[in-house]
Symmetry: C2
Subunit: 355 residues, 2 copies
């Protein structure tokens, strides 16, 4: 900085004021010296040191992301979303990933040691450690900019989550617009516990509301709930189970929406095992994870969680809090991916029902 100041023949603070465009400053710089300062900075290739500025302002210009390994497939997109928003503000994401609640505490402390200016905490839907929850709640209340992402465990904190309810609704609406009337929902058997499994519950609620509004009758097929997210096999088995239930149904649906794409993968497998063709015999619409939808055959038409937008929203909330505004809680609508598992309702095909 001093080099620039010297080059122009002006004081240090003057270049600080000019480069940061600090208008309300007590330091006034005439337009021409201002221009000279800018030019000199340009020529000398000068960018203010974040280290110096940070110490002076007591800011790290880092935004902490405390993420769960469970959400590993989303991590890259979340980070990009945070980048999208923080780039202009010269903020960067500092990432802390943990595999369990003990590590969560360690990494949390590390993030505090790093003096991050805000923290985005991914609690997933997993019922977080009560001690952690209390810790987050307290610091938020004490004024620290904290945003919850992908969960609703922490009371009274700005939150960004998937719009499960809206997604359930939109899934139905799309099938209805294709002419379907008998639309079943496959969901795990714990979906009515709206506190512990409010994601499933929200999706179900959206489904139910949209069905009612369309004047259609809801039809729920339940499959075993899976709690250990690591292994895919139980999810797939859950889908196969749903397939067997579905096949037994008297009033066969022409379309089914499946909560969870690893489950949908198993559902499709199970139906194909029973010699049903997809989408000719039944349309299958997936939900949530991207990769299993792509690896299903036929590839699933599905809403998949918009992790990047979620990251953007969370970062926006964090900046709002840093500026003293109150962070807004947001629900992020998922994105469609187009597969080949959904077809318009066709009278001829579906009336030739296999009974």
């Amino acid at each position: 900085m001093y080099d620039v100041a010297k080059a122009v023949g002006v004081s240090g603070p003057a270049v600080s004021v000019v480069l940061n465009n600090r208008l309300g400053s007590t330091i006034k710089v005439s337009p021409e010296t201002r221009a000279r300062i800018l030019r000199a900075a340009e020529e000398l290739n000068y960018t203010p040191s974040l280290l110096g500025r940070g110490l002076s302002e007591q800011k790290s210009y880092a935004i902490g992301l405390l993420l769960s390994e469970i959400n590993a497939p989303l991590v890259a997109d979340v980070i990009r979303g945070v980048q999208d928003v923080s780039n202009e503000q010269r903020y960067s994401p500092m990432v802390f990933i943990h595999g369990d609640s003990k590590e969560e505490t360690t990494e949390f402390e590390r993030s505090m040691d790093r003096q991050v200016d805000a923290l985005i905490v991914d609690t997933f839907d997993a019922p977080a450690d009560p001690a952690s929850v209390e810790r987050y709640r307290k610091m938020s209340q004490a004024g620290f900019p904290l945003v919850e992402l992908f969960g609703n465990s922490i009371p009274d904190v700005p939150r960004v989550n998937v719009d499960f309810m809206g997604d359930g609704r939109r899934s139905v609406e799309r099938l209805v617009s294709l002419g379907h009337q008998r639309i079943a929902l496959v969901v795990h058997d714990q979906y009515q516990k709206r506190i512990e499994h409010w994601a499933a519950w929200g999706f179900f609620s959206g489904y139910r509301a949209a069905m009612t509004e369309a004047g259609l009758k809801a039809s729920i097929i339940t499959a075993p709930a899976i709690t250990t997210p690591g292994d895919s096999q139980p999810f797939i088995e859950s889908g196969r189970h749903a397939a067997r239930e579905l096949i037994k149904l008297k009033d066969r649906p022409t379309a089914v929406i499946c909560y969870g794409n690893r489950r949908a993968f198993g559902l499709v497998k199970g139906l194909q095992y029973a010699a049903w063709n997809i989408p000719e015999d039944i349309s299958v619409m997936g939900y949530y994870e991207r990769e299993p939808a792509e690896l299903t055959e036929p590839p699933l038409t599905s809403l998949v969680v918009a992790a990047r937008r979620a990251g953007q929203q969370a970062a926006q909330a964090a900046f709002a809090l840093m500026e003293g505004k109150s962070g807004v809680t947001a629900a992020v609508a998922s994105d469609w991916i187009e597969g080949r598992s959904v077809a318009p309702y066709s009278l001829e095909v579906h009336s030739a029902s296999r009974i």
Copy 2:
């Protein structure tokens, strides 16, 4: 810091020296005051500010990760690996993710603006932008601690990559130990271009070497190479293609190793379509990506890339460079995941060959 100093009745630098355990310092502190300082720090719950220390030492204590969106599934594990190593040193990963080489430049500049103390650059196997390559090479030569991860585009730079050759070798060895003798390799048709596709070439080389050593005859089945990594369908189709080739073979292998698990997914599908049972009729061993291996049925026995260890190694190389040592280039062996797609060679079964 001053609070601690005052509480003990000692100067500021003294507590600095004690807390950092700086033995060779010109400041000597007697054991008892040393103990008192430590106790006071404990009581006052004092941890030195990284902001202050950073400015003083001209270090950010951040290690930059410049990662490609292509490797999104690995990002979380890579970060954890870096954490594993940098935790003790009070370093934290600052992550920059890009989707193309234009963004790569932007994010690179951002990482420099952040004054990261080292940079781990993921070039994947994608032939990186020559301008970027030159930039990385130059800064490395100028003494900046830079490590290449998942690629070998940048000359004369410490590098951490998958041990493709060793993995090819170990795949063969495992099948040989199960009694298999006719072991084919499915690989894309560009594998002989060892510069552009040195990953495939390395894997092939390991396969060939191990086959030779076991006194067995190599048998290569090629399938179309895929260059666009986003969409899974072409990979799967490539695997189906390989299945058709495999079925045509006169001297049918009892086991096949498939380079790439989305391709293996298609291969299994294609074989099952031809009514081959896996692993009864043929053992299929996968390679590389984790999730497709889990979603194949039966789940694939496969080496999958050890991204976390790669992150650890890269971080270690970065720290070595920061300490003035020369960073070591490392090859990271992949991890086995156990599926149900591989069985011991059984004479009865395989002799009842369908011809």
